[in-house]
């Protein structure tokens, strides 16, 4: 990459992508409201929420919460920037894992039972989706022969034709990461309350805004991973992302919240079975 390309990639990764995800979240809330025969908030509502939270009085139980929310953001931003600079997929994976663990550490530093249970559930969610992400990355390695993102862009055929089942597996990870039903057990984006917003309980005001922005960056990363499955044309890529996200919203509105045991069982059994079939087919086919 030339320095001009690096500069453009940084701009896209640091500013354009999270702004786009903010708008996408607004569209998500609007579509969800329509599915529930409501009108729904304005498209820019997520930005209003963030701005309002930024203007609130900082009020924290301890300083670790501030530290952890910053590191969560740092981990998420770094992983997205690495992706836009076309770094190694494994490195990106581990950087985002470090970020998401700091969210849990922050929630764990406060003895509030809501925060503690939320943190445990968040950890279980991380345990559920991390193996799936690794398997997807292994699949990309087997298909392209490299962990570098450049190798994916060098492909002539979309990866989706070689890794259709792994795409579904990534869909499970996306549902967990987007905090959507049936996996919205540690935090949720709708008007749910009490324990299902557990991991966010102690983050408030500007720090909640930071956590929210970090979550946008995490969504950017997962959507970027999805986009690798149709890297050959922009139209195909946008269509694939649009359809996947709409299916996510449908799933969110037609399923109910399940327990963490069910989540671990389903995510691992279906995810790992699908991945193994796909990987074996790729290896021997």
């Amino acid at each position: 990459m030339t320095s001009a390309q690096v500069f453009l990639a940084l701009i896209a990764g640091l500013f354009l992508a999270p702004l786009a995800v903010g708008v996408l979240t607004g569209v998500d809330r609007r579509v969800t409201a329509r599915l529930q025969s409501r009108i729904g908030p304005p498209i820019l509502q997520p930005f209003y929420d963030i701005a309002k939270l930024m203007g609130k009085e900082p009020m924290l139980a301890n300083h670790w919460l501030a530290f952890c929310s910053m590191l969560y953001l740092a981990g998420a931003v770094t992983s997205v920037v690495l992706f836009f600079l076309q770094a190694d997929l494994l490195l990106i994976f581990f950087v985002q894992a470090v970020g998401s663990v700091f969210l849990v550490i922050g929630a764990m530093t406060v003895p509030s039972p809501y925060s503690q249970i939320g943190a445990h559930r968040e950890l279980l969610q991380i345990i559920a989706y991390e193996p799936l992400l690794i398997l997807v990355i292994v699949g990309i390695f087997l298909a392209t022969g490299s962990f570098k993102i450049e190798a994916v862009y060098a492909m002539e055929q979309p990866l989706l034709f070689k890794l259709p089942l792994l795409f579904l597996v990534l869909g499970i990870a996306l549902t967990i990461k987007l905090r959507k039903s049936p996996f919205d057990i540690s935090a949720s984006h709708h008007a749910h309350q009490e324990i299902v917003r557990g991991v966010y309980t102690e983050y408030s005001g500007p720090y909640l805004a930071i956590v929210e922005i970090a979550h946008w960056f995490e969504i950017v990363l997962i959507l970027c991973l999805l986009s690798l499955f149709w890297s050959t044309s922009i139209v195909g890529l946008v269509l694939l992302l649009g359809i996947t996200y709409f299916v996510e919203i449908l799933v969110d509105n037609t399923t109910s919240r399940m327990t963490w045991r069910w989540m671990l069982g389903t995510a691992w059994i279906t995810g790992i079975t699908f991945s193994l079939i796909n990987l074996l087919w790729l290896y021997y086919g």
Partner: protein, 145 residues
């Protein structure tokens, strides 16, 4: 910087997160308050979300009479809300103590314990009146900050 502070100012009115506390109500006002969130009234149009956590809330809706046992809870919830914040008392009981005002265990209205910004009368208060109260509170909210 002026642009940013203006945006924050206008966002405050567009994104009030509401916490609802039942201070010993007969549940009449609570049902009407929750009805506001249903598709018929759909207050999420205005960015209003019912949140269960005082640390995330901007507006506190209180229904029912305050008694000596739950006044500490009410005060505690209010203290956990970061500023700027607004309090709305709903229904006859929340305003003055209602029919229970003379009972020995009753303190009276919500304003005996925490400062109240808007009073919504009614027994029970109508959902339209509650929405009206929240809108009034938002105007005060904008003026406050």
């Amino acid at each position: 910087m002026n642009f940013i502070s203006n945006f924050i100012q206008s966002s405050r009115i567009k994104s009030p997160w509401v916490m609802h506390f039942d201070c010993g109500s007969c549940n009449g006002c609570d049902i009407e308050t929750l009805a506001v969130l249903t598709p018929v009234y759909d207050v999420e149009r205005f960015g209003i979300i019912n949140i269960g956590n005082p640390k995330h809330a901007d507006v506190l809706l209180v229904t029912g009479t305050v008694n000596h046992r739950n006044k500490k809870v009410l005060k505690n919830l209010y203290d956990q809300m970061p500023k700027p914040r607004a309090v709305i008392a709903i229904g006859a009981c929340g305003l003055t103590g209602g029919v229970m005002r003379e009972a020995p265990n009753v303190v009276g209205g919500v304003d005996k314990v925490i400062p109240v910004d808007v009073y919504v009368p009614g027994c029970p208060a109508k959902p339209e009146a509650i929405i009206d109260g929240v809108v009034k509170a938002l105007e005060l909210f904008a003026a406050k900050s």
